[in-house]
Amino acid sequence: MITEGKAFKYGDNVDTDVIIPARYLNTFDPGALAEHCMEDIDPSFTGSVRPGDIIVAGNNFGCGSSREHAPLAIKACGVPCVIAGTFARIFYRNAINMGLSIIECPEAAAGISAGDQVAVDLEKGIIQNNTTGKTYATKPFPLFLRRIIDAGGLLNAIREDIL
């Protein structure tokens, strides 16, 4: 799957409290969460993000709380992919389990600026910055993780095993 959109750029240590503040965790309705996505780091995000746009950030993206509401909120905004230098480990698992594509690529994270038009080939792991013309190749997911993503998330994969 190839996706293309505008990049929203953030720095290091974007924590799950700013991705979706705890004051909104009294629900897990994706639409309600999407209304407050990134609110405490970028109040203009929800007003300007369009389906297909991507988030690009520095190191340790998604640190902090284990709330699955964070990848859920990002996905519900229509963002198909997050590119970062590194991801915090719980967010990394949660994103895969929820079917939000994530790519660890320090070079792309550093080289993409806010507002750049970026195309991502999720299967091949290729990131193309159409604004600067630069291309970044990353390692695609190993087979067992692709199976989870292809099954539509971890629960569906397990269901195939159990039932």
Partner: protein
């Protein structure tokens, strides 16, 4: 090649003779934990997937602690959903108002976690139980759902960083000062994807409460887990709590570590982490003298009886400074009762503190102590991220209970030694 403590536990639970860092394994789970925020998603996902049975009702724990006692209709609905699920599946370890406590204080206190076990929890501070020599780590709701259904989960075997502890902490220095000092040194992603293993002769000078507080904050360094070598202090703690036999794992002499840090506990000072990262650590005595508005003493990091005693030790015979709101949150019903029986509540009330029923509320900006615009709070919790406790412009300064109590009296960040 030898294995670390974490690797040995994971190998055993995966049915393998040995594992190495980077290897992907599937491990059997001894306990699966969730709370009123994360469990409802897991329950909904399970039901959506048509998975009607849990692997073992006795190995699932549900603690209603985050928005409890319920703060609004939505959070009441979430708890109601958990209550219904617990009833339907005969989950005995369901903790509701009147019994519940902050989950990571409650489980060790009740002897629900033992050394050598594998525990997952849909809460990032599940890493707390490493204090007892277990492998325990935070996961999301989907992993929790899968754990509840199958009793298994996949893991990537982590590499490790070793912290070799020596010496004895000075007066008013506790586990919080030690772990904040370590995070200040290695950074908020200094242990990313790794296990933090604590060992050395200095361990004997750290209580189980100190260790629970330290393991709790492994996640604030990005760690997958924090784990302490089991010793006589651990065994004494477990003696009256844990009837079930347990297995103790120690690291091999030739286990590989990505880094080894020597920590002399006698050199650790009372410290604070300034906004907005737990790694912004400075000596508490050197923090600025700007006024503070609130102090919170509680949470899964520092809401145990020892923390209550440390706070009361500072507050005894003193008053919270006018204009500062000091909120004490004993983490469990047992801590609450013990603090009351020991007369600590009289100390807190005489000092002008409010005492709350157990809840996670203020720590994550849920309820029971939200900050207004520009307000500053000294808190014994574990995160000082932007907006974590309330308004976007509010500020959190992380500290141990002694520094937090001293700050409440001084009306600014300070240390007990400053009080007359």
């Amino acid at each position: 090649m030898g294995m670390t403590m974490t690797q040995k536990i994971l190998a055993k639970h995966a049915g393998l003779a040995a594992v190495e860092a980077g290897e992907l394994i599937e491990a059997k789970l001894d306990l699966v934990l969730g709370n009123d925020i994360t469990a409802p998603i897991a329950i909904t996902e399970l039901e959506k997937a048509g998975l009607e049975k849990v692997f073992d009702p006795s190995k699932i724990v549900l603690v209603m602690d985050h928005f409890m006692p319920n703060k609004d209709i939505e959070s009441a609905q979430l708890c109601k959903q958990c209550r219904g699920f617990a009833g339907k599946h005969a989950i005995a370890h369901f903790f509701d108002v009147g019994e519940m406590g902050v989950e990571h204080a409650l489980l060790p206190e009740r002897g629900m976690v033992g050394p050598g076990e594998v525990v997952i929890g849909a809460d990032s501070h599940t890493c707390t139980y490493g204090a007892l020599g277990a492998f325990s780590t935070g996961v999301g709701s989907t992993d929790m759902a899968c754990g509840m259904a199958s009793g298994k989960l996949w893991f990537k075997v982590p590499p490790a960083i070793k912290f070799h502890l020596t010496g004895k902490p000075a007066k008013w220095v506790g586990g919080k000062d030690v772990i904040l000092s370590i995070i200040g040194q290695i950074g908020v992603d200094g242990a990313l994807y790794k296990s933090m293993e604590f060992t050395g002769e200095g361990l004997q000078n750290l209580t189980v409460e100190d260790r629970l507080c330290m393991a709790n904050m492994a996640i604030e360094a990005g760690g997958k887990n924090g784990i302490f070598e089991v010793d006589d202090v651990t065994r004494a703690y477990l003696k009256d709590r844990r009837a079930k036999p347990y297995e103790v794992y120690t690291a091999d002499a030739d286990a590989e570590y990505d880094a080894v840090y020597e920590i002399d506990l006698s050199t650790i000072q009372p410290v604070v982490a300034l906004p907005h990262l737990p790694a912004n650590v400075v000596p508490a005595a050197e923090a600025d003298d700007r006024a503070i508005d609130q102090v919170v003493i509680g949470s899964c990091t520092n809401g145990r009886i020892e923390d209550m005693r440390a706070a009361a030790g500072v507050l005894r015979g003193r008053r919270v400074k006018k204009g500062v709101r000091c909120i004490i949150v004993p983490a469990t019903q047992a801590v609450y009762r013990q603090a009351m029986d020991e007369g600590l509540f009289t100390v807190f009330l005489d000092a002008g503190c409010a005492i709350s029923t157990p809840t996670c509320g203020p720590c994550m900006g849920g309820h029971m102590g939200i900050l207004a615009e520009g307000e500053r709070c000294v808190s014994t919790t574990n995160r000082n991220f932007v907006g974590r406790m309330g308004h976007l412009t509010s500020e959190i300064i992380l500290a141990g209970p002694a520094v937090a109590a001293a700050s409440a009296v001084l009306g600014r960040v300070g240390v007990p030694g400053e009080l007359s």
